[in-house]
Amino acid sequence: MNNMMAIYRKEVGAYFKSPMAYIFLVFFALFNGYFFSNTFFLFNQSDMRALFNITPMIYLIFVPAVTMGVIAREKSAGTHELMATLPIKNFELVIGKYLSAFTLVLAGLGFTLVHFFTLLVVGTNIDYGGVICGYLGLALVGAFYAAIGTFTSSLTDNQVVAFILAAVFVLGFYLLDKLLIFVPAALAGPLQFMAVDYHLSNMSRGVVDSRNLVYFGSLIWLFLALTVRGIDMRKWR
């Protein structure tokens, strides 16, 4: 646990010592703000569904950009040798790094609270349950995408390759339920369950089903376990 926290603090420090984190956050806030406010006044409704629809799309680029260097950068700089020869378990390394990337995603999400405060000022009959569940859903999607990004970052020492791989993976999970018309009926159910949007849309309506939590939890676990396994295997090459 101490090792994990030491790695987490180091990684978060590294994010915020580089201008990249601020650039990511500013762009994330600007894109969210633009698309949210565009439709917010048009629909004239006191809810944040517009944000809950837009943010997952911005995540498609934002989260891979945040996670692309999380392990690939260590490989390209050679510091993975340092980490691998310190008394750290691989899962501590992976979780520490993953949590740091997730922290940046949460920081980005935190910026969107400004829209919630706007809603508090100008809105009426706000569905607080829906907002809280929607944010929980966005946090879980961010956590899931960060796990995918951590995994793809462990596959290569090239951050651009890690970014592209992560973008392809997250796009795949995002688009799954939009491709259902092209697949046989028997596959439609399982594929729909695998789609991120299916679970997120439930949550943004204010419904938190245990299946949604199991879905995100198990996929996050799967990709982090694959990352740990990949790092374990590296020494045998």
Binding site: A6, K10, A14, S18, L82
Partner: protein, 314 residues
Amino acid sequence: MIRVENLEKYYGDIHALKGIDFEIDDGEIVGFLGANGAGKSTTLKIMTGFLAPSAGNVFIDDLNIQDHSLDIREQIGYLPEMNPLYGEMRVYDYLEFISQIRGMEATEFKTALDRVVEQCGLRAVIHLPISACSKGYRQRIGLSAAILHDPRVLIFDEPVSGLDPNQIVEIRNLIRELGQQKMVIISSHILQEIEATVDRIVIIDHGEIVANGTSQELMAGFMGRTQLTLDVKYANEDSLAALSNSVDDIEVTDMQAVNGRSILSIEYAREVDPREAIFDYAKNSGWAILEMTQNQVLLEDVFRGLTGEGGGNE
């Protein structure tokens, strides 16, 4: 004690290590010498747990690296060849991070920090970002991180490469000091870099150990016979021809006449020293001895002979 047993490593079809065996005792500094690509770094990476061997094992006391990697990593301080560091961190923050990973308490860290700052001369840069430090300082930062937790085993892969002569002397002295109580292994492809620092030298070539011993042992083992060059005047042909029969245990291997002088190459077993007898023979034969030189076998000759490389050339 470190025991490396029959270590083998394949990179695909490349057989990088072909059964490496050696031991290191407490308080011993061992130089691991070989040309680039000989297998030094691969061996060290396996010893530190960074790579897994294809066969064989590494033991520190009774713990083996395969089953007790974490325990062994706790006992090792390692400076990798490329000395990778986190450039965005300040030196202090980096060392603090290493101390946290090493499980050191805050007070323990303060004491250790004072020690390594003193030993490695880091006071001037302790609050600077690592990226702002010179190559020499970066090497010292890597060293200080390796010794921060006062480990029993120190593994330095090319620790003085790229340093200026003054820095090399400082690092050598530090390694000597550390080696009084610890097991230290230093790799290099440049003989002169480690010759003055180590107690014993292990030479590796094409993944195999070709020599293992003190520099004296290596030199003695490499050259079975001693060579002597004798430069004399006024030597007639008969007395020159009779030399090898008149002095026991010698063999005249070459004789050249140059401007009235005779230059003789003489060989004899290392166990004997016939120089006094040769001198007496020369005096009795009326020769004037201009020069008599017993050729020294340099460790570099041993290295060249065993590896087919020039130890002094990169």
